[in-house]
Amino acid sequence: MKLSHVNYIVLLIILVTGIWTFAGAQNDKAMQMYIGVATAISYVIWGIIYHTLEGDLHPKVVIEYCLVGMVAIVLLLTILWT
Protein backbone atom coordinates (compact mmCIF):
# COMPACT_ATOMS: atom_id res chain seq x y z
CA MET A 1 0.00 0.00 0.00
CA LYS A 2 1.37 3.41 -0.96
CA LEU A 3 2.24 5.85 1.80
CA SER A 4 -0.26 8.43 0.51
CA HIS A 5 -3.04 5.83 0.72
CA VAL A 6 -2.17 5.15 4.35
CA ASN A 7 -2.19 8.89 5.03
CA TYR A 8 -5.62 9.29 3.47
CA ILE A 9 -6.96 6.36 5.49
CA VAL A 10 -5.68 8.13 8.62
CA LEU A 11 -7.41 11.33 7.47
CA LEU A 12 -10.67 9.45 6.91
CA ILE A 13 -10.43 7.96 10.40
CA ILE A 14 -9.91 11.46 11.87
CA LEU A 15 -12.88 12.89 9.97
CA VAL A 16 -15.26 9.98 10.60
CA THR A 17 -14.37 10.04 14.31
CA GLY A 18 -15.02 13.79 14.30
CA ILE A 19 -18.46 13.39 12.71
CA TRP A 20 -19.32 10.47 14.99
CA THR A 21 -18.45 12.24 18.23
CA PHE A 22 -20.01 15.49 16.99
CA ALA A 23 -23.29 13.68 16.34
CA GLY A 24 -23.07 12.04 19.78
CA ALA A 25 -22.88 15.45 21.47
CA GLN A 26 -26.18 16.55 19.92
CA ASN A 27 -27.53 18.29 23.02
CA ASP A 28 -24.28 20.02 23.99
CA LYS A 29 -23.19 22.92 21.81
CA ALA A 30 -20.04 23.59 23.79
CA MET A 31 -18.90 19.99 23.37
CA GLN A 32 -19.69 20.15 19.66
CA MET A 33 -17.56 23.28 19.44
CA TYR A 34 -14.62 21.53 21.15
CA ILE A 35 -14.99 18.50 18.88
CA GLY A 36 -15.10 20.71 15.77
CA VAL A 37 -12.00 22.65 16.84
CA ALA A 38 -10.18 19.41 17.75
CA THR A 39 -11.03 17.95 14.34
CA ALA A 40 -9.77 21.10 12.59
CA ILE A 41 -6.51 21.07 14.59
CA SER A 42 -6.07 17.36 13.85
CA TYR A 43 -6.53 18.13 10.17
CA VAL A 44 -3.84 20.83 10.24
CA ILE A 45 -1.44 18.43 12.00
CA TRP A 46 -2.32 15.69 9.51
CA GLY A 47 -1.60 18.09 6.62
CA ILE A 48 1.79 19.06 8.03
CA ILE A 49 2.80 15.42 8.65
CA TYR A 50 1.51 14.39 5.23
CA HIS A 51 3.53 17.03 3.34
CA THR A 52 6.58 16.35 5.51
CA LEU A 53 6.44 12.67 4.55
CA GLU A 54 5.88 13.61 0.92
CA GLY A 55 8.89 15.92 1.12
CA ASP A 56 7.06 19.01 -0.13
CA LEU A 57 6.35 20.89 3.09
CA HIS A 58 6.51 24.66 2.60
CA PRO A 59 5.46 27.52 4.92
CA LYS A 60 2.75 28.47 2.41
CA VAL A 61 1.31 24.96 2.70
CA VAL A 62 1.26 25.17 6.49
CA ILE A 63 -0.53 28.54 6.32
CA GLU A 64 -3.01 27.10 3.82
CA TYR A 65 -3.94 24.21 6.13
CA CYS A 66 -4.24 26.63 9.07
CA LEU A 67 -6.54 28.92 7.07
CA VAL A 68 -8.66 25.99 5.87
CA GLY A 69 -9.02 24.95 9.52
CA MET A 70 -9.92 28.52 10.52
CA VAL A 71 -12.55 28.78 7.78
CA ALA A 72 -14.12 25.56 9.06
CA ILE A 73 -14.10 26.83 12.66
CA VAL A 74 -15.69 30.14 11.75
CA LEU A 75 -18.41 28.27 9.83
CA LEU A 76 -18.90 26.05 12.87
CA LEU A 77 -19.33 29.18 15.03
CA THR A 78 -21.80 30.61 12.54
CA ILE A 79 -24.04 27.55 12.75
CA LEU A 80 -23.68 26.84 16.46
CA TRP A 81 -23.86 30.29 18.03
CA THR A 82 -26.32 32.26 15.94
Binding site: I19, A23, D28, K29, G36, E64, L75
Partner: protein
Protein backbone atom coordinates in the same frame (compact mmCIF):
# COMPACT_ATOMS: atom_id res chain seq x y z
CA UNK B 1 -16.96 39.16 -16.45
CA UNK B 2 -15.77 35.94 -18.04
CA UNK B 3 -12.19 36.87 -17.22
CA UNK B 4 -13.12 37.60 -13.62
CA UNK B 5 -14.94 34.27 -13.21
CA UNK B 6 -12.04 32.34 -14.73
CA UNK B 7 -9.57 34.22 -12.55
CA UNK B 8 -11.61 33.55 -9.43
CA UNK B 9 -12.69 29.95 -9.99
CA UNK B 10 -10.30 28.27 -12.46
CA UNK B 11 -6.52 27.79 -12.21
CA UNK B 12 -4.89 29.84 -14.92
CA UNK B 13 -1.59 31.63 -15.50
CA UNK B 14 -3.32 34.88 -14.46
CA UNK B 15 -3.81 33.49 -10.94
CA UNK B 16 -0.55 31.57 -10.72
CA UNK B 17 -2.37 28.29 -11.53
CA UNK B 18 -4.51 28.35 -8.42
CA UNK B 19 -8.12 29.59 -8.42
CA UNK B 20 -8.04 33.05 -6.79
CA UNK B 21 -10.83 31.88 -4.47
CA UNK B 22 -8.34 29.43 -2.95
CA UNK B 23 -5.46 31.85 -2.48
CA UNK B 24 -4.26 32.46 1.06
CA UNK B 25 -5.43 36.08 1.10
CA UNK B 26 -8.90 34.97 -0.10
CA UNK B 27 -9.06 32.39 2.69
CA UNK B 28 -8.15 35.03 5.24
CA UNK B 29 -10.89 37.27 3.81
CA UNK B 30 -13.46 34.47 4.31
CA UNK B 31 -12.48 34.14 7.95
CA UNK B 32 -12.82 37.90 8.51
CA UNK B 33 -16.07 38.17 6.53
CA UNK B 34 -17.70 35.39 8.53
CA UNK B 35 -16.47 36.85 11.80
CA UNK B 36 -18.02 40.21 10.85
CA UNK B 37 -21.16 38.42 9.64
CA UNK B 38 -21.56 36.73 13.02
CA UNK B 39 -21.08 39.95 14.99
CA UNK B 40 -23.31 41.83 12.54
CA UNK B 41 -26.14 39.37 13.05
CA UNK B 42 -25.96 39.79 16.81
CA UNK B 43 -25.94 43.59 16.56
CA UNK B 44 -28.80 43.79 14.03
CA UNK B 45 -30.80 41.29 16.08
CA UNK B 46 -30.29 43.35 19.23
CA UNK B 47 -31.24 46.63 17.56
CA UNK B 48 -33.96 45.37 15.20
CA UNK B 49 -35.41 42.10 16.55
CA UNK B 50 -38.41 42.38 14.25
CA UNK B 51 -36.16 42.38 11.21
CA UNK B 52 -33.66 39.72 12.23
CA UNK B 53 -34.73 37.29 14.92
CA UNK B 54 -35.70 33.76 15.86
CA UNK B 55 -39.01 32.63 14.37
CA UNK B 56 -40.93 30.88 17.13
CA UNK B 57 -44.48 29.59 17.41
CA UNK B 58 -44.98 27.50 20.53
CA UNK B 59 -48.35 27.38 22.26
CA UNK B 60 -49.69 25.49 25.24
CA UNK B 61 -52.80 24.23 23.42
CA UNK B 62 -50.62 22.73 20.68
CA UNK B 63 -48.24 21.14 23.19
CA UNK B 64 -51.18 19.67 25.12
CA UNK B 65 -52.81 18.35 21.94
CA UNK B 66 -49.49 16.91 20.72
CA UNK B 67 -48.80 15.21 24.05
CA UNK B 68 -52.30 13.75 24.27
CA UNK B 69 -52.19 12.55 20.67
CA UNK B 70 -49.10 10.51 21.56
CA UNK B 71 -50.77 9.08 24.67
CA UNK B 72 -54.02 8.25 22.94
CA UNK B 73 -52.13 6.50 20.17
CA UNK B 74 -50.94 4.08 22.87
CA UNK B 75 -54.39 3.73 24.40
CA UNK B 76 -53.57 5.89 27.42
CA UNK B 77 -55.81 8.41 29.15
CA UNK B 78 -55.30 11.96 27.82
CA UNK B 79 -53.86 14.39 30.37
CA UNK B 80 -55.90 17.26 31.73
CA UNK B 81 -54.43 20.74 31.74
CA UNK B 82 -53.84 21.84 35.33
CA UNK B 83 -53.35 25.50 36.20
CA UNK B 84 -51.38 24.75 39.37
CA UNK B 85 -48.90 22.61 37.48
CA UNK B 86 -48.67 25.38 34.89
CA UNK B 87 -47.92 27.82 37.71
CA UNK B 88 -45.20 25.45 39.00
CA UNK B 89 -43.75 25.25 35.48
CA UNK B 90 -43.81 29.06 35.18
CA UNK B 91 -42.05 29.42 38.54
CA UNK B 92 -39.42 26.88 37.45
CA UNK B 93 -38.84 28.73 34.16
CA UNK B 94 -38.51 32.07 35.97
CA UNK B 95 -36.07 30.52 38.44
CA UNK B 96 -33.96 29.13 35.57
CA UNK B 97 -33.70 32.55 33.99
CA UNK B 98 -33.14 34.32 37.30
CA UNK B 99 -30.31 32.03 38.43
CA UNK B 100 -29.09 31.32 34.91
CA UNK B 101 -29.11 27.52 34.86
CA UNK B 102 -30.23 24.79 32.47
CA UNK B 103 -30.90 21.81 34.71
CA UNK B 104 -33.66 19.98 36.54
CA UNK B 105 -32.20 20.99 39.89
CA UNK B 106 -31.25 24.60 40.59
CA UNK B 107 -27.70 25.50 41.69
CA UNK B 108 -29.17 26.03 45.15
CA UNK B 109 -30.51 22.48 45.15
CA UNK B 110 -34.14 23.26 44.40
CA UNK B 111 -35.79 20.26 42.76
CA UNK B 112 -38.72 20.33 40.32
CA UNK B 113 -40.87 18.90 43.10
CA UNK B 114 -40.32 21.92 45.32
CA UNK B 115 -41.83 24.16 42.62
CA UNK B 116 -44.80 21.81 42.32
CA UNK B 117 -45.33 21.79 46.07
CA UNK B 118 -44.88 25.55 46.39
CA UNK B 119 -47.55 26.05 43.77
CA UNK B 120 -49.90 24.05 45.98
CA UNK B 121 -50.13 20.84 43.99
CA UNK B 122 -50.29 17.77 46.24
CA UNK B 123 -48.96 14.96 44.14
CA UNK B 124 -48.45 11.26 44.41
CA UNK B 125 -46.41 11.14 41.27
CA UNK B 126 -44.84 13.93 39.27
CA UNK B 127 -42.39 14.50 36.44
CA UNK B 128 -40.71 17.21 34.42
CA UNK B 129 -39.54 17.60 30.82
CA UNK B 130 -37.51 20.60 29.64
CA UNK B 131 -36.80 21.92 26.16
CA UNK B 132 -35.21 25.05 24.80
CA UNK B 133 -34.80 26.84 21.50
CA UNK B 134 -37.31 24.91 19.43
CA UNK B 135 -39.26 26.90 16.87
CA UNK B 136 -42.57 24.99 16.83
CA UNK B 137 -44.77 23.10 19.29
CA UNK B 138 -44.70 20.00 17.11
CA UNK B 139 -40.90 20.17 17.04
CA UNK B 140 -40.83 20.09 20.84
CA UNK B 141 -43.22 17.12 21.11
CA UNK B 142 -41.41 15.20 18.33
CA UNK B 143 -38.04 15.73 20.05
CA UNK B 144 -39.40 14.59 23.41
CA UNK B 145 -40.90 11.49 21.81
CA UNK B 146 -37.59 10.73 20.10
CA UNK B 147 -35.77 10.79 23.44
CA UNK B 148 -36.49 7.58 25.42
CA UNK B 149 -36.38 9.23 28.85
CA UNK B 150 -38.63 12.15 27.87
CA UNK B 151 -40.93 9.78 26.04
CA UNK B 152 -41.26 7.73 29.25
CA UNK B 153 -42.70 10.79 30.97
CA UNK B 154 -45.14 11.56 28.17
CA UNK B 155 -46.51 8.01 28.03
CA UNK B 156 -46.43 7.26 31.76
CA UNK B 157 -49.86 5.78 32.56
CA UNK B 158 -49.99 7.07 36.15
CA UNK B 159 -49.95 10.75 35.17
CA UNK B 160 -53.32 12.42 35.04
CA UNK B 161 -52.57 16.12 34.73
CA UNK B 162 -50.13 18.40 32.98
CA UNK B 163 -48.98 22.01 33.01
CA UNK B 164 -46.72 24.01 30.71
CA UNK B 165 -44.76 27.23 30.72
CA UNK B 166 -43.26 28.75 27.57
CA UNK B 167 -40.96 31.64 28.33
CA UNK B 168 -38.47 33.78 26.43
CA UNK B 169 -35.35 35.05 28.14
CA UNK B 170 -31.57 35.01 28.22
CA UNK B 171 -29.94 31.83 29.51
CA UNK B 172 -26.15 31.51 29.71
CA UNK B 173 -25.87 34.59 27.52
CA UNK B 174 -28.02 33.07 24.79
CA UNK B 175 -31.51 34.21 23.81
CA UNK B 176 -33.64 31.24 24.74
CA UNK B 177 -37.21 30.04 24.40
CA UNK B 178 -37.72 27.71 27.32
CA UNK B 179 -40.49 25.10 27.55
CA UNK B 180 -41.21 23.50 30.92
CA UNK B 181 -43.62 20.57 30.97
CA UNK B 182 -44.75 19.27 34.35
CA UNK B 183 -46.74 16.11 34.90
CA UNK B 184 -48.58 14.96 37.95
CA UNK B 185 -51.36 13.05 39.56
CA UNK B 186 -53.08 14.50 42.60
CA UNK B 187 -53.38 12.39 45.71
CA UNK B 188 -57.09 11.92 45.25
CA UNK B 189 -56.43 10.35 41.87
CA UNK B 190 -54.18 7.52 43.01
CA UNK B 191 -54.49 7.72 46.76
CA UNK B 192 -54.24 4.03 47.51
CA UNK B 193 -51.22 3.18 45.47
CA UNK B 194 -47.87 2.16 46.90
CA UNK B 195 -45.33 4.98 47.23
CA UNK B 196 -44.20 5.86 43.75
CA UNK B 197 -41.27 7.65 42.25
CA UNK B 198 -41.13 10.85 40.36
CA UNK B 199 -39.34 10.85 37.07
CA UNK B 200 -36.93 13.35 35.65
CA UNK B 201 -35.52 12.49 32.27
CA UNK B 202 -31.95 11.41 32.47
CA UNK B 203 -29.75 14.06 30.95
CA UNK B 204 -29.02 13.10 27.37
CA UNK B 205 -25.67 14.89 27.31
CA UNK B 206 -23.76 17.50 29.26
CA UNK B 207 -25.75 20.65 29.67
CA UNK B 208 -24.57 24.20 29.23
CA UNK B 209 -21.04 25.40 29.42
CA UNK B 210 -20.92 26.91 32.89
CA UNK B 211 -21.71 23.81 34.89
CA UNK B 212 -19.28 21.83 36.94
CA UNK B 213 -19.04 18.03 36.82
CA UNK B 214 -20.48 17.82 40.31
CA UNK B 215 -23.56 19.70 39.17
CA UNK B 216 -23.90 17.40 36.20
CA UNK B 217 -23.71 14.38 38.45
CA UNK B 218 -26.55 15.69 40.57
CA UNK B 219 -28.73 16.14 37.55
CA UNK B 220 -28.34 12.73 36.04
CA UNK B 221 -30.44 10.99 38.66
CA UNK B 222 -33.19 9.38 36.69
CA UNK B 223 -35.59 8.53 39.41
CA UNK B 224 -35.99 10.34 42.66
CA UNK B 225 -37.97 9.24 45.67
CA UNK B 226 -40.79 11.64 46.31
CA UNK B 227 -42.60 12.76 49.34
CA UNK B 228 -45.83 10.88 49.10
CA UNK B 229 -48.68 12.50 50.92
CA UNK B 230 -50.19 9.90 53.28
CA UNK B 231 -53.69 8.94 52.20
CA UNK B 232 -55.01 9.92 55.59
CA UNK B 233 -54.04 13.55 55.10
CA UNK B 234 -56.71 14.65 52.76
CA UNK B 235 -55.97 17.90 51.00
CA UNK B 236 -57.83 19.81 48.32
CA UNK B 237 -57.65 18.32 44.86
CA UNK B 238 -54.63 19.59 43.05
CA UNK B 239 -55.27 22.73 41.08
CA UNK B 240 -58.94 22.72 41.85
CA UNK B 241 -58.99 26.24 43.13
CA UNK B 242 -56.08 28.24 41.77
CA UNK B 243 -55.78 31.82 42.84
CA UNK B 244 -56.26 34.61 40.25
CA UNK B 245 -52.54 35.36 40.46
CA UNK B 246 -51.71 31.80 39.45
CA UNK B 247 -54.13 31.98 36.57
CA UNK B 248 -52.61 35.22 35.40
CA UNK B 249 -49.07 33.84 35.58
CA UNK B 250 -49.87 30.63 33.79
CA UNK B 251 -51.62 32.63 31.06
CA UNK B 252 -48.60 34.92 30.75
CA UNK B 253 -46.41 31.95 29.92
CA UNK B 254 -48.81 30.11 27.63
CA UNK B 255 -47.21 30.93 24.29
CA UNK B 256 -44.28 32.49 22.50
CA UNK B 257 -44.91 33.73 19.02
CA UNK B 258 -42.31 35.66 17.04
CA UNK B 259 -42.18 36.14 13.32
CA UNK B 260 -39.24 38.33 12.31
CA UNK B 261 -38.64 39.36 8.71
CA UNK B 262 -35.55 37.13 8.57
CA UNK B 263 -35.11 34.02 10.69
CA UNK B 264 -31.52 33.90 11.98
CA UNK B 265 -31.06 30.09 11.94
CA UNK B 266 -32.36 29.87 8.36
CA UNK B 267 -30.21 32.79 7.21
CA UNK B 268 -26.99 31.55 8.80
CA UNK B 269 -27.50 27.98 7.61
CA UNK B 270 -28.20 29.10 4.04
CA UNK B 271 -25.12 31.33 4.00
CA UNK B 272 -22.78 28.81 5.67
CA UNK B 273 -23.89 25.76 3.69
CA UNK B 274 -24.01 27.74 0.43
CA UNK B 275 -20.45 28.92 1.03
CA UNK B 276 -19.20 25.45 1.96
CA UNK B 277 -20.83 23.96 -1.13
CA UNK B 278 -19.28 26.65 -3.35
CA UNK B 279 -15.86 26.10 -1.79
CA UNK B 280 -16.08 22.34 -2.38
CA UNK B 281 -17.08 22.93 -6.04
CA UNK B 282 -14.16 25.36 -6.56
CA UNK B 283 -11.75 22.83 -4.99
CA UNK B 284 -13.05 20.09 -7.31
CA UNK B 285 -12.71 22.31 -10.43
CA UNK B 286 -9.24 23.48 -9.35
CA UNK B 287 -8.11 19.90 -8.67
CA UNK B 288 -9.46 18.55 -11.97
CA UNK B 289 -7.85 21.30 -14.07
CA UNK B 290 -4.48 20.96 -12.32
CA UNK B 291 -4.58 17.17 -12.63
CA UNK B 292 -5.48 17.37 -16.35
CA UNK B 293 -2.75 19.89 -17.15
CA UNK B 294 -0.25 18.08 -14.89
CA UNK B 295 0.83 21.34 -13.27
CA UNK B 296 3.16 21.11 -10.29
CA UNK B 297 2.64 23.79 -7.65
CA UNK B 298 3.27 24.46 -3.98
CA UNK B 299 -0.11 24.00 -2.35
CA UNK B 300 -2.12 21.79 -0.06
CA UNK B 301 -3.98 18.77 -1.43
CA UNK B 302 -7.38 19.61 -2.84
CA UNK B 303 -8.71 16.10 -2.19
CA UNK B 304 -7.85 16.45 1.50
CA UNK B 305 -9.54 19.88 1.68
CA UNK B 306 -12.62 18.48 -0.08
CA UNK B 307 -12.85 15.58 2.38
CA UNK B 308 -12.37 17.98 5.31
CA UNK B 309 -15.07 20.45 4.22
CA UNK B 310 -17.42 17.58 3.33
CA UNK B 311 -16.98 16.19 6.85
CA UNK B 312 -17.83 19.61 8.31
CA UNK B 313 -20.79 19.90 5.94
CA UNK B 314 -22.16 16.55 7.18
CA UNK B 315 -21.49 17.33 10.85
CA UNK B 316 -23.06 20.80 10.69
CA UNK B 317 -26.09 19.53 8.80
CA UNK B 318 -27.05 17.43 11.84
CA UNK B 319 -26.87 20.38 14.26
CA UNK B 320 -30.24 21.06 15.81
CA UNK B 321 -31.00 24.29 17.60
CA UNK B 322 -33.50 22.75 19.98
CA UNK B 323 -32.09 21.06 23.09
CA UNK B 324 -33.76 18.77 25.63
CA UNK B 325 -33.16 18.04 29.25
Amino acid sequence: MEHFLRHFFVPHHSNNHRAKALHLDSMLCYVLIFAIFNFGIRIVHREFPNVLGYATDIRVDQLLAGTNTQRQALGLTPLTYNVTLAQAAAAKAQDMFKYDYWAHNSPEGKTPWSFIQQAGYKYTVAGENLAKNFSTSQGVVDAWMASPTHRDNIVKPSYREIGFAIVNGVLNGEETTLVVQMFGAGETVIANQEPVKTVVPEKAAAVEINQSPSQLGEQTAKEVETQVVPPTEMVPVAGANPTPVLNELSTMFSSVFEKPMFNIPTLTRNVAFGFMGLLIVILIIDGLVISKKKIVRVAGHNLAHILFFTAFFIALSIVKRGVLL
